[in-house]
Symmetry: C2
Subunit: 429 residues, 2 copies
């Protein structure tokens, strides 16, 4: 993306394009480096330079600042470079999908389009090559709010292929917005994991001094090469400083803040592991790598909806949607309740063959439909309570369960069976 | 509610009814007291006795336990008792609505139906009368999942009446499931508060040693008589022990756990105050009591829906609901995003006169539609981002805004104006 406004004009005036080597004078200091592309996330008054040290800095241009062209950019070579092969290290497969963590690549390489090649991603964090033998490719480059079921299916197959052909682990750089949905989907689709599948994102792009991309990627790589984990996890910052990363179970994690670096939180359990530099501490039980091979069960029935009940919720809207789907996840209030009026709609939907599952909009804690009469009415209407499963995980799982079988009893059995740690054995009510 | 199963049979065999004085022998000990009614929340093997001390105990009946009738119950007198008037204390109005905190009353009085009279509630926590001159009445007695807009309107009028006729504060015992919606609704409907309006609930009924009802009610009363607060707040336990209660701003509070006593949390701000016994510490700025009178703006437009975007969300479902409402609150991912496909639906809905507001399903943090191109597309489609407002609060506020005016510009202005602390001035992105 190009610079705009006053900054853009200064660059045009100096005959400078993204990728050129330039000098910026500001407050008596002179900075020399490669002009990085402007990014969505940046303040429009800031130009980003890649210094000779390899680090990027953001410089706010004031009226007194001057920009001078040093040399025009070289022909792009990033995609020409081939990955070094280091057979002495464990192989880790990187499957790029897009998102802020991919636009990070963008910055470091000077490429205008995000992550044309996954090699760019790895070259941008060369420390990764100290840890593992990198095999990288970009599956797609999209904002994660545009991820669909078909993307999950493609990812599952690609991850299984990599593990089945010898990768010690798979790292999926991913936009953070829907990363928890993807991690849940992969958790159900991938059975018998021979190594970890790690979804990793960043909340801040690299022009900001607070970027979390490098640390998150390195922590993800360490999980792949230094542990016997055989689960789908999300690895992100564990707190707002750069102290440690957390590995969250793929079915128990949710983005709980729109912008903080520690936005991802395990819900109803502790994170599986803490990654502090080279030190990894497991805090919970976890599934170990299998001897393989990894099996892919990626059939999904997309005719599933999720909705939150709230006062004033119009049962008619439930009826319309229920008439159009095979499964419905309701995020009820408290222990899982809905209004008496909506219970009648649930009864009708179940009668018509819709599988209605119940979770709690509180997110924390379990549903329990045996405590109050409302809940007992919901049970008698045919609603199925899902313990402490997150609504989002329940939505993904219900698509998956309905993809495995059409028989209602089988679907119910699958939904109530703990397949990928999505239901805690310890209930809190 | 009657006892059932083996326990029920033992009671029938002994000729005992709820309200009778009985003796229970268990493990060599004999307990004497009034048999309290069985409650939804109780273990069916437990009988609850009200001891002469006034405390209730739950006794698990084993095979060796024996039950003996001491005397049949007296005619009910609870509703006959009249409230003592103590003009030396400040008047606090209690407006009962139902919920677990009302079924607490049930226990102490021995009445089978919850909270027939608000006096029962107050008599059940006699310490309340040490703090204030109690004026109590039951508006209705329902599970809070059945609260509707009309209940909020009735509550707002009743609360204003009490404050305008001299009450130092209003306490609304309320089921916890939708208490956050009610507190938000009252926050917008009641203008120029002459004293606090305190929604208070309990997560555990009183047959459990962990009941939080008494402490929450006393903390609510102290807020009314000992502070100059002029806001709608929710008062509940601040942690899982009985250390302190928190007062949360009515527009910034959400039930974040299905069962814990500290389920209610302030989101994107600290609780307004900490109530530790008689000590009240304010932690944030707050609105003070006015000289009055309290004005009620209770018009609401119920044709508003709220929905969460997620991968695989079917835009057609949005279209159907949007065709049926005047306002829609979308809880987008991350900074407020939806898929490109849904942006097109939003554009169409806005074109058709639907007000589409955007919040984040992360709950914590603010939306920002200026960072990524998806967000900018949403803005250009006519979506209105609401900063760090909770989705639930936005839903209630949009009904209220559309109740005040039909003019789109006016609705937008209301939605973006901080009316009851629902938008934090400090943004986190």
């Amino acid at each position: 993306m190009r610079y705009s406004g006053q900054v853009g004009q200064s660059l045009v005036d100096a005959g400078v394009d993204v990728g050129d080597e330039i000098e910026v004078s500001r407050s008596g200091e002179i900075y020399r480096g490669i002009l990085m592309p402007h990014h969505d996330f940046s303040n429009p008054a800031i130009v980003t330079l890649k210094l000779a040290s390899g680090y990027n800095i953001g410089l706010e241009l004031g009226n007194e600042s001057k920009v001078r062209l040093v040399s025009k950019k070289q022909a792009e070579t990033a995609t020409e470079r081939s990955m070094p092969v280091d057979a002495s290290k464990k192989k880790v497969a990187f499957l790029g999908t897009g998102g802020t963590i991919a636009s990070y690549v963008d910055y470091r390489t000077g490429a205008v389009h995000p992550a044309k090649s996954a090699e760019e991603l790895v070259f941008s964090v060369p420390e990764l090559m100290d840890l593992c033998d990198v095999k990288a490719r970009v599956l797609y480059s999209i904002y994660s709010e545009n991820m669909e079921v078909s993307h999950w299916q493609e990812l599952a197959k690609a991850a299984a292929d990599e593990l089945n052909s010898g990768a010690a682990g798979v790292i999926i750089p991913h936009g953070t917005d829907t990363m928890g949905f993807t991690s849940a989907a992969l958790s159900f689709m991938l059975r018998g994991l021979m190594g970890p599948v790690v979804c990793v994102g960043s909340q801040r792009s690299s022009d900001r001094p607070s970027s979390d991309a490098t640390m998150n990627l390195l922590a993800a790589a360490r999980i792949c090469v230094d542990t016997d984990l055989g689960e789908v996890v999300v690895v992100m910052h564990g707190d707002v400083s750069d102290d440690f990363c957390s590995a969250h179970r793929g079915t128990k994690v949710r983005k709980m803040h729109s912008s903080r670096r520690d936005a991802f939180r395990s819900v109803n359990m502790d994170p599986i592991a803490r990654i502090e530099g080279p030190n990894i501490t497991f805090a919970t039980e976890y599934s170990k790598r299998t001897a393989g091979p990894v099996e892919v069960l990626d059939k999904m029935n997309k005719r599933v909806s999720m909705l939150q009940f709230y006062p004033g919720f119009e049962p008619e809207h439930f009826d319309i949607i229920a008439g159009n789907v095979n499964g419905m996840v309701v995020a009820g209030t408290g222990l899982g309740h809905v209004s008496d009026r909506l219970v009648a709609s649930i009864r009708e939907a179940v009668k018509n063959g819709v599988f209605v599952a119940v979770t709690t909009q509180c997110l924390q804690g379990a549903v329990n439909l045996n405590v109050y009469s409302t809940g007992r009415d919901m049970i008698s209407a045919g609603a199925v309570p899902l313990g402490d499963m997150l609504p989002e995980t329940a939505y993904v799982k219900l698509m998956w369960a309905l993809g495995q079988t059409d028989a209602r009893e089988e679907v119910e059995k699958i939904m109530l069976t703990n397949i990928a740690g999505e239901i805690a054995s310890r209930r809190s009510v």
